[in-house]
Symmetry: C2
Subunit: 210 residues, 2 copies
């Protein structure tokens, strides 16, 4: 809100951009945990004290950077097409998500990898969860509380799935095209894991090796 309402000193804009970019570079190179504030300001050719004029600490910079990425997600993903089938809409949204994350591939790979940062992953997951929860409530279904609870669980599972698949994709250097990844996720959402793995599922939920 502040960044929109009041005009920012160009030095402030420059400084924050430099810090954010240096931060993302260094995270991609060395991982979040191994970099110090001195490292960041060195890379940005700024004084260490300058950092504290803009951020409380490293975690604060991470939060701001997270929001920066989330803003882009909101901009690029939340534009449903007219006259598309549900399937097309979902797949388009999934593709857009993979696209945005791919723009930050090196950074994302570091944040989702073995030495990644849970607060970041949690924030991303939570954003997806809230977004889908809202769009779900907008559809105006009437829930009993028990159902509402179950829906929460399903949506949690849904976005954990997405983050897990995204993690695989980035870790394996995005070796499959976005469209294919979107199809795979869509398949998991509609068919369930076991069907995807080649098991035959009967009406009443039993399954057998095919």
């Amino acid at each position: 809100m502040d960044s929109v309402e009041t005009k920012l000193d160009p030095r402030v804009i420059r400084t924050r951009r430099l810090l954010r970019e240096s931060f993302m570079e260094l995270v991609a190179e060395n991982g979040y945990w191994d970099i110090t504030i001195q490292d960041i300001t060195d890379r940005a050719t700024l004084n260490r004290v300058t950092f504290y004029l803009h951020y409380d600490n490293k975690e604060d910079l991470l939060v701001q950077t997270t929001n920066h990425i989330l803003d882009e997600l909101v901009k690029r993903v939340e534009t449903p097409k007219e006259g598309a089938s549900p399937r097309e809409m979902v797949q388009a949204a999934l593709e857009a998500n993979f696209q945005v994350y791919a723009n930050y591939a090196d950074f994302m790979k570091a944040m989702l990898g073995k030495d990644g940062v849970w607060s970041f992953i949690f924030a991303m997951q939570d954003y997806h969860f809230r977004a889908s929860m809202e769009s779900f409530q907008m559809m105006g279904k009437d829930f009993d509380p028990k159902k509402e609870q179950e829906i929460q669980i399903f949506l949690r599972g849904m976005h954990s799935t997405f983050m897990g698949v995204l993690q695989w994709w980035l870790t394996n250097d995005m070796s499959l095209p976005r469209e294919e990844m979107a199809q795979i996720v869509y398949k998991i959402y509609t068919q369930g894991i076991y069907r995807c793995l080649g098991y035959k599922i009967t009406e009443d939920g039993e399954f057998v090796d095919e």
Copy 2:
């Protein structure tokens, strides 16, 4: 291996147990990030130097603690029943998982919550992934590499789903019984998220609001 082959000095056993228990208590109370080694040894009524006789640092203690929990998972879960249907076997395994995690509820809740620790979650997820990957390969299916890759993705998604649901369960103080949680997860695995959410999915993967 070392803890089995060579007999351990009772002082060592006592010290490590005290450190691990103090660690888990403090994590449950204050979260992983806010506790120091001094805190841990204070709680354990040990000298800080003693800590370094057994662990390299806080992260090392976390790794050992993680393995401690994984050992229990291996012991309690990996015992398939004779003559059970696939459904029964899967649900029993899921229940056993929820059971073991529930034994460490406070610790787990802190580790999977907002201020949780990704390296821990990653290790848990990776254990489940490897375990299922092995049991999948034991079934001796012949994969083309493309299929193998897809299966990896599906299994990643599968265990991310489980961890996500587990996270919900612990965060909401295990308000639903284990059996019900196991059923929900089973339903997600066999039906897919969208069907669980009440959408109707056609044969060819289109779906409509019911």
